[in-house]
């Protein structure tokens, strides 16, 4: 038996208001996974328990009017040149599933 019909033209019954999604202005150029042996080169790094290797993840953000070289260095990053573009290289959790695992 039909219990309830949806009346979409009626006024909304609940209102969650306005949610501002904070989005990063930076565009990632690419991620690079570097495996360094026996050295912990800084966060975020994880140690492979079998081999003892420290896995260091670098992330590269495009330098632009918003993400300036000064902003890059202020966050502890390094301004480098990649594929003819200026990029901010920083040791941050890479975006994606591995970042989710680290959150």
């Amino acid at each position: 038996m039909r219990k309830l019909g949806i009346v979409l033209t009626a006024a909304a019954v609940f209102d969650l208001g306005t949610v501002v999604v904070s989005s990063q202005a930076a565009d990632t150029i690419y991620m690079k996974v570097e495996i360094t042996e026996g050295r912990n080169v800084g966060a975020p790094a994880s140690v492979d328990h079998k081999s003892g290797k420290a896995n260091t993840i670098f992330k590269f953000f495009k330098i632009d009017a918003v993400n300036t070289p000064q902003a890059c260095m202020a966050k502890g990053g390094t301004v480098v040149s990649k594929n003819g573009q200026q990029a901010c290289k920083s040791q941050q959790a890479i975006r994606g599933w591995i970042e989710v695992l680290s959150f």
């Binding site: 039909r2 219990k3 309830l4 019909g5 949806i6 009346v7 979409l8 033209t9 009626a10 006024a11 909304a12 019954v13 609940f14 209102d15 969650l16 208001g17 306005t18 949610v19 501002v20 999604v21 989005s23 990063q24 930076a26 565009d27 990632t28 150029i29 690419y30 991620m31 690079k32 996974v33 570097e34 495996i35 975020p44 790094a45 994880s46 140690v47 492979d48 328990h49 079998k50 896995n55 993840i57 975006r95 994606g96 599933w97 591995i98 989710v100 695992l101 680290s102 959150f103």
Partner: protein, 255 residues
């Protein structure tokens, strides 16, 4: 003062969850401001106290919204998403799903007709056996937070495919987890085959419903997709102490 926001009928995005034949539903709205642009979303969800998975279609729709925007932005910049059916490289990664998603995946498998249900269950068993043989099952089961990066890399090297992967394509594509929806690249597809490869350019989303849902989970945390069926069998029943709107407010507020 009058409310000048669009009504339900004028909303840009309409998302719904629940079955009007079986439960009371309630309509509502939220305005999501993305990069300064308000997006009006009309919502219909169960009104009673429900499990989080009963409103999962709302979060799937929000993931699709953020992905569509990111794809449009990338294409405007001259980039193309490389991902398509036939490339299942990332389907061999360790995929984190929310507990609600794990329960939803278990329900999905249980509802499959035979013999497909048995085939999929067998693939889950085979995947766990392969992880065990590789010495990874204990680490995967412990939801390791420290060392998660190394686990992710080791998991990928083991080459254990998602149990839902068939002919290098997702066999549950309309119902795939949020993490899978949000993981897209614009770099060459072959670069995804190696976990140490340079030149992986991920599509940057303005919001992550997958992360928001994970952070809203109030119990143990994320579940490796490969353990979804085992989790659903062994975990306590899903809590049903919040209404649909209350769950939405919690998750959407974490975007």
């Amino acid at each position: 003062m009058t409310d000048e926001r669009p009504s339900q009928a004028e909303a840009v995005v309409r998302l719904s969850a629940g079955d009007p034949e079986r439960e009371a539903l309630i309509a509502g709205r939220v305005s999501v401001v993305i990069s300064g642009e308000p997006v009006e979303v009309a919502l219909v969800v169960p009104d009673g106290k429900v499990a989080v998975e009963q409103v999962l279609p709302i979060f799937q729709g929000l993931s699709n919204l953020f992905v569509d925007r990111a794809v449009a932005r990338a294409e405007a910049e001259g980039r193309t998403v490389s991902c398509r059916a036939g490339c299942g490289a990332c389907c061999r990664q360790l995929v984190p799903v929310a507990e609600a998603e794990a329960r939803a995946l278990a329900h999905l498998v249980e509802a499959m007709p035979e013999p497909r249900r048995s085939h999929v269950r067998r693939r889950f068993d085979d995947a766990l056996n392969a992880l065990d043989a590789a010495g990874l099952l204990d680490r995967v089961s412990q939801q390791v937070q420290n060392g998660a990066l190394a686990l992710g890399l080791d998991y990928f090297r083991a080459g254990v495919a998602c149990p839902f992967l068939e002919d290098e394509a997702c066999s549950i594509h309309p119902d795939r987890p949020l993490a899978c929806r949000e993981y897209l690249v614009t770099s060459p597809a072959q670069n995804c085959r190696s976990p140490s490869a340079e030149g992986i350019e991920m599509l940057k989303l303005e919001g992550d419903p997958s992360l928001a849902l994970l952070k809203a989970e109030r119990t143990a945390g994320w579940v490796p997709l490969v353990l979804a069926l085992r989790y659903a069998e062994q975990a306590p029943p899903a809590p049903r102490d919040r209404t649909g709107p209350e769950i939405l407010a919690d998750v959407i507020g974490r975007l």
